[in-house]
């Protein structure tokens, strides 16, 4: 399995704040990788850095090409092959363009023909041709997401970064977007980086999962194993905090105490220790490294759960 995207020791800073701190991550062709964590954990920042939309330190390679060594032509090619579907779909669409123009725009930018494919692309996403002459404000949230997705797909990318693809959508339509992404993946061997705080979605559609806490990776591995046997107390806490239907009230829903600390002043030692129920003296002093923990996992914890 050769990596489509490989990142080593990526650091992203905003002024004096380190938003992403030495993250190493890989994504294979056709794979779905989930990136989860609370707001402020750095998931969107990391995702943007990985596709060259934010300045970073460290190394990122896509298809073996280092991002910072690309010339202009190489960058243009990269931007065609790698597409971002932004979290706020409505505001990612120009309010002055019709849907037709919005979907044709990427083709024009890349000097590609086939403008007539816009209608077919919409159709493939379950939207009728009637939508082509509408403006973004005339679309529902779900439709806007699909138009944003159509713009990404029309360039035939190898990797899509979907930032909270279900956020703001009703639960009855969330599945449509996820099913479209899964189907495309099966058809085209598309790789998907799915950024989400919604663990139900993550569990359903991702193959592997990376959990971020205050800019650091705390655990990575096959999604199924992480849900069945979380090794990091933070992973366990996130899973326990996820809301599930439980009218008999037999499963306690627990939450880690307190709030996410300020990323301007992250705690010493393990960054999770102030909220960790298992924290020991060592956790306050020494920051744990991300080390292999079997079953294809990596965990950054001095005392991983059994």
């Amino acid at each position: 399995m050769s990596a489509l995207l490989e990142a080593r020791d990526v650091i992203v800073r905003f002024a004096r704040m380190v938003a992403v701190d030495r993250v190493s991550i890989a994504l294979a062709a056709g794979e779905t990788l989930g990136l989860a964590g609370e707001s402020g954990s750095g998931k969107t920042t990391l995702a943007k850095a990985l596709i060259g939309l934010l300045p970073y330190q460290g190394q990122v390679e896509i298809e073996g090409m280092s991002l910072d060594r690309l010339d202009r032509a190489g960058q243009l090619r990269l931007r065609r092959r790698v597409q971002l579907v932004a979290q706020d779909a409505v505001s990612s669409l120009s309010p002055r363009f019709t849907v037709r123009r919005l979907i044709e725009e990427p083709l024009r930018i890349h000097g590609l023909g086939g403008l007539e494919r816009a209608a077919a692309q919409l159709d493939a996403l379950g939207l009728g041709p009637a939508l082509l002459d509408r403006y973004p404000h005339e679309l529902s949230g779900g439709q806007a997401k699909r138009v944003a997705l159509a713009r990404a797909l029309i360039l035939d990318p190898i990797l899509i970064v979907a930032d909270e693809p279900t956020a703001g959508l009703d639960v009855s339509v969330q599945g449509e977007i996820l099913n479209i992404l899964s189907a495309l993946q099966a058809e085209r061997g598309l790789a998907l980086l799915l950024v989400s705080h919604n663990l139900t979605v993550i569990r359903r559609v991702t193959d592997r999962l990376a959990i971020l806490y205050l800019g650091r990776l705390v655990e990575t591995g096959p999604t199924r194993f992480l849900f069945e046997r979380p090794a990091h107390p933070y992973t366990a806490a996130l899973i326990a905090a996820a809301p599930v239907i439980d009218a008999e009230r037999v499963h306690p829903r627990s939450a880690p105490a307190g709030d996410l600390p300020s990323p301007f002043h992250p705690p010493e030692g393990c960054r999770f220790h102030p909220r960790c129920p298992y924290a020991q003296a060592r956790c306050r002093m020494e920051s744990p490294e991300l080390v292999p923990a079997g079953e294809g996992r990596m965990v950054a914890c001095h005392f991983p759960l059994g």
Binding site: G175, P243, I245, A247
Partner: protein
């Protein structure tokens, strides 16, 4: 004893029907979970109860609180209920507090209607005690803090404290965790679960999330496109949902499907004012029959304490 009763309550915005002949009761000391997707009318209902609807809203029917029709009393009497009999926790804790005043001052002001004779110091003491009860560490320091100095979760705790200080008969919580992270949501839901045992009033808990409602509510009411389509005791609703919409919604939320395929409800909620002659869910219903397109099903008793608006429930 019944605290709140809605009788054939309808709401139109500029001629477009937003709530259609809702009849519902809430008993004293109970928690009613009101579930619905965007556009179902659940927030409009909360605003109607609080008398906070915009000017273009036209209401019809009755809202009985302790047997008094709130639509028949004077605007002055109606306004006097807010902060005494009725209190509300809004969705977005970032905008519900006044940014210009410290928390302590806002907690005092919130109690003025309830305790007009009490002094500032006494109200501040009650505020401090309530902050402690809703799980805020170092309440003394927080009284002096401004809203921007508090996290989202802490602000929502302050707003819940503010509502509880009014000792309302009815506490309305409109999506109180939607703006919060999942970990903070779990904390705030824990607080509501404690209220179940310690708060003597009734709670109307409005949410798009069946999961949240399942753990908290005694009774659940499901709204779809302004229609009440099912009501039932919480356990029964989740064990034996009667209406196809409730069933589909539960499937969507548990996410159980084949392989990577996630369950969905095809189609979209009808636009307000579409005025379908039949069942409002019929266009999306997997069990649709010709009758469903022709005639709107009334909400009727379908056994085990459930009422459902479906011809075939």
């Amino acid at each position: 004893m019944t605290l709140l009763e809605l009788r054939d309550l309808s709401l139109d915005y500029a001629g477009k029907r937003s709530l259609d002949r809702l009849s519902l009761t809430l008993e004293r000391g109970r928690i009613l979970g009101l579930v619905g997707e965007s556009g179902s009318g659940k927030s409009s209902l909360a605003l109607a109860l609080m008398d906070l609807l915009p000017g273009n809203a036209a209401l019809d029917g009755q809202i009985l609180l302790n047997g008094t029709d709130l639509r028949a009393i004077t605007p002055h009497q109606r306004a006097a209920l807010r902060g005494r009999k009725l209190a509300m926790v809004f969705q977005d804790p970032m905008t519900a507090l006044n940014p210009l005043f410290p928390i302590g001052r806002q907690l005092v002001d919130a109690q003025r209607a309830r305790h007009p004779e009490a002094g500032r110091r006494a109200l501040l003491d009650r505020g401090r005690e309530m902050l402690r009860r809703v799980g805020i560490a170092d309440p003394e320091a927080r009284l002096k803090a401004y809203p921007h100095e508090l996290s989202g979760g802490m602000r929502q705790r302050v707003l819940i404290a503010m509502a509880l200080l009014c000792e309302p008969d009815l506490l309305i919580a409109d999506e109180p965790t939607t703006a919060l992270d999942v970990t903070i949501e779990a904390q705030i839901m824990g607080l509501f679960e404690e209220l179940r045992d310690h708060f003597s009033g009734s709670i109307l808990f409005i949410s798009h999330s069946l999961a949240l409602v399942s753990r908290l509510a005694d009774e659940v009411a499901v709204l779809y496109a302004g229609h009440l389509i099912e009501t039932a005791p919480a356990r029964t609703l989740f064990a034996l949902p009667a209406h196809p919409y409730t069933q589909a919604l539960i499937a969507c939320e548990t996410g159980e499907g084949e392989g990577k395929i996630v369950p969905t409800i095809p189609g979209a909620v009808p636009a307000p004012g579409s005025d379908l002659p039949g069942c409002s869910f019929a266009p999306r219903c997997p069990a649709r029959q010709p009758l469903c397109i022709e005639a709107a099903p009334p909400l009727r008793d379908v056994g085990q304490g459930r009422r459902a608006a479906c011809h075939f429930a």
